[in-house]
Subunit: 586 residues, 2 copies
């Protein structure tokens, strides 16, 4: 019944239409046989089109600076993104051109995200908490041509009005025409527009261009605590693969029925990809604007039916404290949280789970990893652990999902034992990991064999789960062994008289480096060095005990809210150990 070899020479049945067989004379090197599937680039515009076409019922709630809320749908966001792209194209914006934002999490920011990347330009999110020098450096390095800015952030820009880069053609205030300042330091320095006036008369649809999925989509700078900020230039391919990965159960577990509230800012590694993941899943988004205090967040969680949220530990710590202080406040439907940035203290995780039924997942990543690098989610080996054992374990940063590879190497470059004890520097590679920085070459964090050196010192246990013990530049290298400054800090934070703490290395004549502990005492308390150090007894290896304590009133902080250890190290460069006793007990 079947016409065998019909219309086809029997001698070459392997000749697929798109892949001619190699000549018979050279059988050892046939032309590669390609699959015969549709070949479509992975583009961010497809996310927007998917959401608009299939998920008109989801809501995009955006909180204004005054606390009021405005509501859109995915089709409306898509229409406004199209208007924006039409306006920028009319202004001559080209593929690859950088368009900056200084903005909170709100709907106009989302529209710029999609409008700019989908038209082929590069969405460059800038952290509004940067110092003036960093801001000028980043705008200049990126050579942004347009800067979209929230009205509340105009003062930060006015402070550097005399140093705006020559590439900058216009500043677009994210609001109605009336939001453009009529006076101030920007007047006469740069064209000033409003986003609403810019898009008002533009068509609300567009044929998004189709281009190579490896084209740049967005740009985000590292915080640069130890040198110049460095730009990570994401591609459409890396962004789409990253977002698709985060939808899975073992990551952000995002479904179309979700209502996600990203507390993590859209200027912080693209809000961990949530703006893209939400469009891909077709779920609802609640964009909280600048107010991230516990009352504002709790109100949004309850009133908007939020099912999932993501943010750094300080957000969740503050929320838990507020909840406990207001016992009538409960979650009607407990949302799930993702935490990243730094480790979440177990008591916070435990408190949310046992008192409020809220599960918190630890994730780890960096600007260079888009950011998802690892998640700590149960697997076959620990699915049956009880909650307490799991809570203890869940402080670890986790295991890689498909698409990411992790390894840790010692000072000689050998992979460390997976025993949860050995220290090594974490290296990562994968489909959404940076290969180099924008405008730079020769950075030695990119190895010759294709890995990115994270600068994190970690252990990896027998289950392949990674835990960060320190930054490589902060770990104390004492007599050839490593001491975790983070563990010393976390331990002493349990002392009732300690408000903040930082540990840095100081030079030691015999051991090379020994730990110096800086303590900000709690108001009204007056701890002594002896009682501080005594607290470590039985809690850490004795030879880890700091060799000196300094009591200080404050600690210098970076723009991303971390203790600025580079400044401390400079300040205490000549500090000598108070005693050699601890080191000598090794």
């Amino acid at each position: 019944m079947f016409g065998l070899f019909k219309n086809r020479p029997a001698a070459a049945p392997e000749a697929a239409a798109s892949a001619p067989a190699a000549p018979a004379a050279a059988p050892a090197k046939p032309a590669p046989l390609h699959g015969l599937m549709m070949d479509r680039p992975l583009l961010i515009s497809d996310i927007l089109k998917h959401a608009a076409a299939n998920h008109a019922g989801a809501k995009i709630v955006s909180v204004r600076a005054d606390g009021s809320r405005v509501r859109h749908t995915w089709p409306q966001i898509a229409a406004r993104a199209a208007k924006l792209a039409n306006a920028l194209a009319r202004r001559g914006v080209q593929q690859g051109e950088r368009i900056a934002t200084l903005a909170w999490n709100e709907h106009r920011h989302l529209e710029i995200y999609y409008g700019v990347s989908c038209m082929g330009a590069v969405m460059h999110t800038v952290n509004p908490r940067l110092f003036a020098d960093q801001l000028v450096f980043i705008l200049t390095d990126a050579a942004d041509t347009h800067l979209f800015i929230d009205p509340t952030l105009l003062p930060a820009l006015e402070a550097v009005a005399d140093r705006l880069p020559p590439t900058l053609k216009a500043v677009v205030v994210m609001g109605e025409a009336g939001s453009v300042p009529g006076q101030g330091k920007l007047i006469g320095k740069v064209e000033l527009l409003s986003q609403e006036a810019l898009i008002a008369d533009e068509p609300d649809s567009i044929d998004w261009p189709v281009f190579d999925e490896r084209c740049a989509s967005s740009l985000c700078y590292t915080s640069g605590t130890t040198g110049e900020p460095k730009g990570v230039l994401y591609s459409h391919r890396s962004t789409v693969l990253h977002a698709l990965t985060t939808l899975q159960v073992d990551c952000f577990a995002t479904s179309a029925a979700d209502v996600l509230l990203p507390v993590v800012p859209m200027f912080h590694v693209n809000a961990w990809g949530i703006p893209y993941a939400a469009g891909m899943a077709g779920c609802s988004l609640v964009l909280p604007g600048p107010r991230l205090d516990p009352v504002s967040l709790y109100t949004l969680f309850e009133e908007e039916g939020v099912t999932g949220s993501a943010g750094v530990p300080t957000i969740w710590t503050a929320l838990l404290q507020w909840l406990r202080a207001n016992p009538e406040k409960r979650f009607t439907n407990p949302p799930r949280f993702t935490v990243g940035g730094t480790a979440l203290p177990k008591p916070i995780n435990e408190g949310f789970l046992k008192e409020y039924g809220v599960r918190i997942m630890h994730a780890w990543g960096m600007t260079e990893t888009s950011p998802l690098g690892a998640v700590n989610v149960r697997k076959a080996e620990n699915i049956d652990w009880d909650e307490d054992r799991w809570l203890d374990y869940s402080k670890k940063q986790g295991r890689p999902l498909f698409g990411i590879e992790l390894k840790a190497v010692d000072a000689e470059g050998h992979e460390i034992a997976h025993d949860g004890v050995a220290f090594g520097e974490l290296l990562v590679r994968g489909n959404w990991v940076a290969a180099q920085y924008f405008n730079r070459t020769g950075d030695d964090v990119f190895t010759d064999d294709g890995w990115f050196r994270t600068g994190d010192v970690v252990t990896i246990d027998a289950l392949g789960v990674m835990e960060i013990v320190d930054r490589a530049k902060d770990v104390i290298k004492s007599g050839g062994e490593w001491i975790s400054s983070i563990e010393l800090e976390n331990t002493i934070m349990g002392h009732p008289k300690v408000a903040m703490a930082a540990v840095i290395a100081m030079h030691h004549p015999k051991w090379d480096e020994r730990p110096l502990l800086l303590v900000v005492p709690k108001p009204g308390s007056n701890p002594t060095e002896a009682e501080i150090l005594a607290f470590y007894e039985g809690r850490i290896a004795k030879w880890w005990t700091p060799d000196a304590v300094e009591f200080v009133e404050t600690l210098p902080m970076t723009a991303t809210g971390k203790v600025w250890k580079a400044v401390l190290k400079k300040q205490y460069a000549d500090r000598a150990p108070t005693t050699l006793a601890h080191a000598q007990t090794r």
Copy 2:
């Protein structure tokens, strides 16, 4: 503090290392700015490496033909896949070369899946239920060089021993050396090996080759009920993207803690991608072998802690009947099921949910769509529907996930209204949809503007959810309007005297086509045409009522278990309507 423009000319700050700026003279066409992310191909070998490196705790349970079980881990599967690839390479297997299997769901099949694709050859799964002519056609068309076969399936191959294609170098029996037949029709026709002897002395590791992600990975033929079977040639890229998509919450929702039992055969569109998705998630797999009866499945579900399974409606229907007949059998932890292939009757879905706590998700796909094309999972618009409303609705085939686009067009090629009423042919395009068939060109199912015509007649409702009402070739075209043969069949299946039913078109002088209903009565029953047709009253539009009924003893079935309507249409080509009454009432 930052060295502005250090080592960099201020005039060209936009010059990224990998993307030199266009000359100033031609600003309108700058070279595309590429992202600076790692550029790694999406390869199936990365799935296997990920599972082996990160998920050693998951189990791969495989049921032998005698019912006993053998257990492996992902590292062991990876080692055995490496041994297999080393053996095939030693035999001269080249990239792109097709390697066939005739096998059940078991661990050796899984090892061939990974070993063959990861080495760059093409995994060609063949349905053992094919008719002899189809089997010969497919092996010849694919030009397979090796055929791996389960010992239980040797008779099917022996039946065509005289017609094996000249390309076939060896038949490898999937078992120990003793499983190779010492006599029979294959002796002297082709080299006979055993899988265990083949791999015994090979190294258990390999550096999997890295190649273009668009290279072919596997090949699967459509069932060919209306003509020659047609091969769909998947690529590594399409396979990886498809598997990643299925992990998400709104699809198979696969986590590392899952224990998946694919009832759907590995020769049926790669078991819906589960062998790849399981490795990607790092979960456990239970491969049930040839025994798919309710007792065997239930025993595996309970004893192996199965959390998820997938199969066609007949599997779940039989399981529910058996459970009800054995009321002491309950699920300790109710697994979740995915159903596809054809629509699942609502009573089955409802029975599992209300009596056993088992949720069943409808998915839709075809060999040409890898197969995932749509899922019916709740979204913003229906998240608050009660269970009964949802059960009614969940018979629909669903909505596309990101990566797939669906549309339905009428006879003039215009998109139909999304009103849940209008009929149109379903077209699909996406990242894992076939662009053409293997060894063929000019198939008109692939449109000039890049869509695949599914041949399914569907409605799409206001939520964008699609429901299949018929196959395009089976829908009855009556007076310019379409009548769903499937709905006529499903309706009459509710008649107590009907065991099976099929509806085909017969020629009509006025309306072009009218429905002919073929009924297999239940044993011992003796229905009349009048009482059969009376059953339709009030259940369908009156003008849909069939114009004739034929009572038959059996219906012809295809190799995939569907009624073979092409045979029926030939058989009843001259059948005339019994009455014109129904048509005239329109």
